[in-house]
Symmetry: C2
DNA sequence: ACCTGAACACCGTTCAAGT
DNA sequence: ACCTGAACACCGTTCAAGT
């Protein structure tokens, strides 16, 4: 469609936009070419192959992570800042978080983040094995909180998302209440989130508290 | 190849075997047909489409979860049993865990597990919102521990896995040590796990401890 | 330097036809 | 009831050719 000059940047921009709107499956070489007003083969001049586009999309997420914490912050405040920073960055492109995950050690910003996180954990007094585990888990925690934010159906148009949720709700409503009383009682909380900030606060705390307890032991 | 009578069961068996050996991308309708000594279209008699195969693969994982805990177990012991049970089931087919994740509320065993977990958390005294979150997180925790077990390269042949790890190791070794000292120091722990049981013990505890702290607050 | 046409080897799926 | 042949609309990618 738009004829803005083709470039690696432009391709990745478009890929992110398509992914946000219609999910990762909609990101195809041919689709991107069409949106960019060009033949599919034109992309191969700017990019080695589709995987390189996917990788670049993942790298983008790390480029926007802000994990700074105020001077004098304790290690657990710093750890919370890391997870919250990742959460904020991931929420901008929920369907792309898996792309980002495998790029931590492959892009500059991912490496900086890893270095920072490992450093603060070692400084806190964690053993090496534990520091490595907790750093990995902080990234994964952000990833899974975003991908499963209750009520969010990333990669779907608003109408489609609404339909999917209605279907899930109906599926649960059809369950025998005597066998699944707890699912019935809590279905609302798993399918809808009235306070997104509270959701992230509680779950990030859950993680940081686990780490704090591990250090004490 | 083998000419065992075609059936839904046989198709899913084969799909799991292919996924385990070569990853999810290798699971195609045509490949399964070839392995089963039949034309691709034959599968469509036993199965609606490929998605149904993928769904059935996910369901299989839940069918093997053993989350029983001894009589009189405390809520946190029960929660640990749930996560450990999921971990054991997932480890049998690491590349299929994402398939399983989205099937919790769509298969009998997944529903039973969810019901059990929600029940024990409510019994422990968690508020509804928190019980829902922690139940979700217990499934996700098992999922991510298995998918990122250090040194495991699921869906790769042993040689390919070895090559991938060597490449990662080389990538980190090539990093400037003055900018990434912590990554250098801990790279070994992120790429290799000398004691897999200890890895799961520590990380499951990390999660359960977080929950315990949340209840106390 | 940058893009296209034509072609290749793959997908999943349908549908009429065979036994 | 169960399977096949032929066909369709998609993929990613290569490579020689155009400007």
């Amino acid at each position: 469609m738009a004829k803005a000059d083709l470039s690696r940047e432009a391709i990745v921009d478009r890929a992110l936009a398509v992914a946000d709107a219609e999910g990762l499956d909609a990101v195809t070489v041919r689709r991107l070419a069409q949106e960019l007003g060009v033949t599919p083969m034109a992309l191969y001049w700017h990019v080695k192959n589709k995987d390189e586009v996917l990788d670049a999309m993942g790298d983008r997420l790390f480029e926007t992570v802000d994990y700074a914490s105020p001077d004098g912050a304790t290690w657990d405040e710093q750890l919370r800042a890391v997870v919250r920073g990742l959460v904020e960055a991931f929420r901008a492109h929920p369907v792309c978080v898996d792309l980002a995950y495998r790029r931590v050690f492959e892009c500059e910003e991912g490496l900086q983040l890893a270095e920072h996180t490992l450093g603060l954990l070692r400084g806190a007094g964690f053993a090496d094995r534990q520091a490595a585990d907790i750093a990995t888990r902080s990234l994964q925690t952000a990833l899974m909180l975003v991908t499963s934010e209750p009520g969010a159906e990333p990669g779907s148009t608003p109408e489609a998302a609404h339909a999917k949720l209605a279907e899930k709700r109906a599926g649960i409503a059809a369950l025998p209440i005597d066998r699944f009383p707890n699912i019935h009682a809590l279905a609302g909380f798993m399918l809808y989130c009235d306070d997104v900030e509270a959701y992230y606060d509680f779950n990030v705390d859950l993680f940081v508290n686990g780490a704090r307890t591990a250090l004490a032991a």
